[in-house]
């Protein structure tokens, strides 16, 4: 049995080394490499045509401006300057950052709580609960916003009646102050199940004998969870933070749909993507919209990368 039993499995195969002395690959290996290329090509073609090309086109377009008079001219960074100076745009960015900053940790905490509960085997009908929790993942965001819109509806929604019954009259779930928290509730509803299942699967892959060793050492439960299980599912948590952050920053559907239940709260710069949509499509200023989208992409990358680095460093000290 290998002595390297605990080493992580090799992931990508390194391409042949270049530099200095070139490794001569045999003709056979080269032919094999070409087959590999052939397998990969269909995906690469579609990927290039339908993701890379639009992307480049967008960046290209963002450097131009079309005016009614004067036609399309190269404007360099003028569009970017407009975006960077646009208060409402950055207001939207801050809004989604706050939204994500609250929603993601809360949702992950809840998901981890339940994943742990299932992993411990405490709840008797774990499978049944897990199946229920996963249902929202099968619901399109449009439909879930629709349903919650009805529930939150300021005039007739059941939740409103509930608030009235408790004594909070005139409570509007979709008012200016409460729109974002309500969307947070919706997002938690939509995504907790999926995150929970991923964390649960990760927890289950913690080797059993490590937990048994901890039990023999008389480790209290909280310590087993926090100092053994949690650190061992770190890769899954990091991936989830990453995915969730990218999703949160692109908030679009929920506010757009909820707008129909409560006019006036969701402006057309409410979130960056709404801003981009209304600029590019509704107003037809697609070049400015493209610039906005690029700026947003940069912001997303910046936030994702820093959140990863932050998590890494924190955990190393644990």
């Amino acid at each position: 049995m290998s002595e390297t039993a605990l080493k992580p499995a090799a992931t990508t195969v390194a391409p042949p080394s270049t530099g200095g002395k070139r490794l001569r690959r045999s003709a056979y290996a080269r032919r094999r490499g070409r087959s590999g290329l052939a397998f990969v090509t269909p995906f690469m073609i579609v990927f290039t045509l339908f993701m890379v090309v639009p992307l480049i086109y967008a960046i290209y377009q963002s450097l131009y401006t079309t005016k009614l008079i004067g036609g399309t001219t190269f404007s360099g960074f003028a569009n970017y300057s407009t975006v960077l100076k646009s208060g409402p745009f950055w207001g939207g960015v801050i809004r989604v950052v706050i939204f994500g900053g609250i929603q993601i940790p809360v949702m992950l905490a809840i998901a981890f709580f339940f994943a742990t509960t299932f992993d411990l085997g405490v709840a008797k009908f774990g499978r049944f609960f897990r199946a229920i929790y996963f249902v929202p993942f099968a619901v399109p965001l449009v439909v879930s916003s629709l349903m919650w819109g009805f529930l939150f509806d300021p005039g007739y929604g059941p939740f409103n009646r509930l608030m009235n019954a408790i004594g909070f009259h005139n409570f509007n779930w979709l008012s200016n102050n409460w729109m974002v928290p309500s969307i947070i509730i919706i997002a938690i509803w939509e995504w907790t199940g999926y995150n929970c299942i991923i964390l649960y699967t990760a927890l289950k892959s913690v080797p059993r004998d490590i937990v048994e060793a901890a039990i023999l050492d008389d480790t209290p439960l909280w310590r087993i969870i926090l100092r053994i299980k949690l650190p061992m599912v770190r890769p899954a948590i990091i991936m989830l933070v990453f995915i969730n952050t990218i999703g949160a920053m692109q908030l679009f559907i929920e506010p757009t749909i909820l707008n129909n239940y409560q006019a006036g709260v969701v402006t057309n710069t409410y979130t960056p993507v709404i801003d981009i949509y209304s600029t590019a499509i509704s107003n037809g200023e697609y070049q400015l919209g493209a610039a906005m989208a690029v700026v947003l992409a940069v912001v997303i990358i910046a936030i994702s990368v820093t959140s990863l680095a932050f998590r890494n460093r924190r955990r190393d000290f644990a």
Binding site: A138, V233, P235
Partner: protein, 315 residues
């Protein structure tokens, strides 16, 4: 001579799996939980389950109500008249000129299935190629694709619209389907799956036996990749089924809308003009959109449970 069962009946297999699963897990008692904690935890699970089911229960119940009742009666119980079948029938009519739900539903099915299958094929081929072959730039290409995850949807959808305008692909089915076949997540999942479940030695043995790469892929690799394929298929179908932004941007003909965009449109009109009887349709339409996906996930449970594990394997 009694008959020897050659394969386990499904019931027996399920029972055995459940027992093995129970044996494989650490018994709860060893954790040293107090009775009170256990009840508390179970209660929390129940509460969250209720929370999860609230909107679902609501939509099921209210799909049976008239518009007036949706707003006036108690949200979580039925009210006469029972309009379920009437409303359901209306889904097949063009109620206020925006289009017919049933037609949108058909569109959704077409887009999702075609894009789902296409995405799975591409991801399978690509994942296999990246996982088990060395070629110049493989790492670079793969990194590039994964970076695609970081790109906001609008940065792709909006320019796509512009590009389509130039090549007359606006309001084309393929304009919707092709972009939906690009799944960096699917590729990542397939590559991880191939790495975990197809040993190199197996492929080398087949090569030594003189099989061509194509043959190896179809006869040796593909059968081993099935669970991963099902996961990617499921996720791609669901992703396309639920997509809103892309079709919103590239379609201007109501006929081509999927249900998501169609219902968005209805909602706008209903909100604006206090139109008659769109709300029951919205509720019913929402319900009809949910059911196929939930059913699909439930049916293919065996596959994606394992597939999601790959999502949590070390990056």
């Amino acid at each position: 001579m009694s008959e020897i069962a050659l394969t386990e009946s499904r019931k027996d297999r399920r029972r055995r799996e459940r027992l093995e699963e129970r044996d494989a897990a650490i018994p709860v008692e060893l954790y040293g939980l107090k009775r009170g904690t256990v009840t508390l935890l179970t209660t929390c699970c129940v509460l969250f389950a209720v929370f999860t089911l609230i909107p679902i229960v609501w939509i099921v119940i209210n799909s049976t109500k008239t518009q007036a009742n949706i707003f006036q009666s108690f949200g979580f119980w039925f009210a006469r008249p029972f309009e379920f079948f009437h409303t359901f029938a209306n889904l097949f009519r063009d109620v206020d000129g925006d289009g017919t739900y049933s037609h949108w539903f058909y569109n959704t099915v077409v887009y999702s299935v075609v894009a789902g299958v296409g995405a799975t094929v591409l991801a399978a081929l690509g994942g296999y190629g990246f996982a088990r072959f060395e070629f110049r730039g493989s790492r670079l290409f793969f990194g590039f694709i994964i970076a695609g995850l970081l790109v906001p949807i609008t940065l792709v959808a909006v320019p796509l619209y512009l590009v389509y305008a130039k090549v007359h692909l606006i309001n084309s089915i393929w304009g919707m389907i092709m972009p939906s076949m690009v799944t960096p997540v699917g590729l990542y999942l397939m590559r991880t799956y191939v790495e975990l479940s197809i040993p190199r030695e197996l492929l080398d043995a087949a090569r030594i036996d003189g099989a061509s790469e194509v043959r190896i892929f179809f006869r040796v690799a593909l059968p081993l990749m099935v669970p991963g394929l099902m996961t990617v298929l499921l996720l791609s179908i669901a992703g396309t089924w639920n997509n809103y932004i892309l079709p919103l941007i590239i379609f201007s003909t109501n006929n081509l809308f999927p249900t998501t965009v169609g219902m968005g449109l209805w909602l706008q009109h209903a909100g604006n003009s206090g139109d008659t009887n769109l709300f029951p349709l919205l509720v019913m339409g929402g319900l009809m959109t949910i059911i196929p996906m939930v059913a699909l996930f439930a049916l293919l449970q065996r596959y994606w449970r394992g597939g999601l594990l790959l999502g949590s394997v070390a990056n």
